[in-house]
Symmetry: C2
């Protein structure tokens, strides 16, 4: 499938390169292609500059937000939650109209330090904010409840025997996202319901962050045992 991934951070790189390995045609979208390529320093998380990473992952094409969104039969939002609406606006509501948008972003607010809080929660969610801002896009919240390495390759922990949640208003878009997730190795995909259920999966972040601290590794995931 042709997939446009918005965002060149850890999530965009990890998910985008894995999708390319699985045979998908991936364009990673960024706000300013020349600026992204010109960076020579690691980012705040210690990740190598994009150009260094790209040399090792030439199967992924870099483009603008709009080029990535136009290319994709499915679009993936891998931008930071605080900048998602703006990035999607640049990508273009018309460009994405009718397409499934897999929204991985979390509404993390680092303005009060660490651990971050959520800038929207409980009575609304980032997934709903995006769906309201782009009513012609078929938003599906998923993958936001685990570290990027497990989003892309869940078998790295317990053979993939853990759970992924999907939330969205459009059944066909949820089916398309679920098929993509299963192709990546996600063994247990639970459909929580409409996009308002993204309140639930986004509110997992506070315990996820504390589990990371308690366990000393982000290589864990929630499994719903029943």
């Amino acid at each position: 499938m042709k997939i446009g991934v918005l965002g060149t951070g850890t999530v965009g790189r990890t998910v985008g390169s894995r999708l390319a390995e699985r045979g998908h045609e991936v364009i990673l979208g960024t706000r300013d292609v020349s600026r992204t390529l010109a960076r020579t320093e690691p980012d705040a998380m210690g990740n190598p500059p994009f150009s260094t990473w790209h040399e090792q992952h030439p199967q992924v094409t870099l483009g603008s937000f709009t080029e990535a969104a136009a290319h994709g039969e499915m679009v993936i939002n891998a931008t930071g939650g605080g900048g998602s609406i703006e990035a999607l606006t640049v990508a273009g509501a018309d460009t994405m109209a009718g397409k499934a948008l897999l929204d991985i972003a979390n509404p993390l607010d680092f303005s009060h330090g660490v651990p971050p809080t959520l800038f929207v929660k409980d009575t609304d969610s980032l997934g709903e904010q995006i769906q309201r801002a782009f009513p012609d896009v078929r938003v599906v919240k998923a993958l936001n409840t685990m570290t990027a390495a497990l989003m892309a390759d869940p078998a790295q922990t317990a053979g993939g025997e853990h759970t992924t949640f999907v939330s969205g208003n459009d059944e066909d878009a949820k089916k398309a996202v679920t098929a993509l997730l299963e192709d990546l190795g996600h063994a247990d995909v639970i459909d929580l319901g409409d996009i308002t259920t993204a309140r639930g999966s986004e509110m997992l972040l506070p315990i996820w962050l504390r589990l990371w601290g308690a366990l000393g590794t982000p290589m864990f995931n929630f499994k719903i045992v029943r």
Copy 2:
């Protein structure tokens, strides 16, 4: 161990009677003993009136909040989250001073309908509110992330192979609670850290409620796969 359980609803009954089965001496505390015994109608959830339940569980003693708190070497808060501070105040700060308080309550707000929202979250938690209100009590948040039947007897789902979280400032109190949980069959107890980490476990409720809807049963639990 002598245990005082505050609250005669589903959580108090289920956990209290199971602890009695395990050999503990349990007093269930209520605001008004004679009123609790006088009820003849099922509650809003369809549970039988207390007196009917009590005939089948005579090993549990009924008392006032204060009597239960005075009896317990450990006290368990199984009251509704909205009434917890008031119930604990009636039980008595002095009565509970120095004791471990296992706080199961969730800050559910039903005033806007179903699903409920949380009346405190993200920047504070009910566990912290209780710890601040009763500084001499050693509060441990636990068990609030699963249905009452699994709190009391986790082996009912997947042989108990799922996860229970504990949060609290006092290491000895967390050890005592963890030992009690293991005695009930909880196979995987994760210490999240101090009482502020209760923000994480309380914020699991929104997805828990939606999973109940999606799965059609409350007999599930989170397992942290790593």
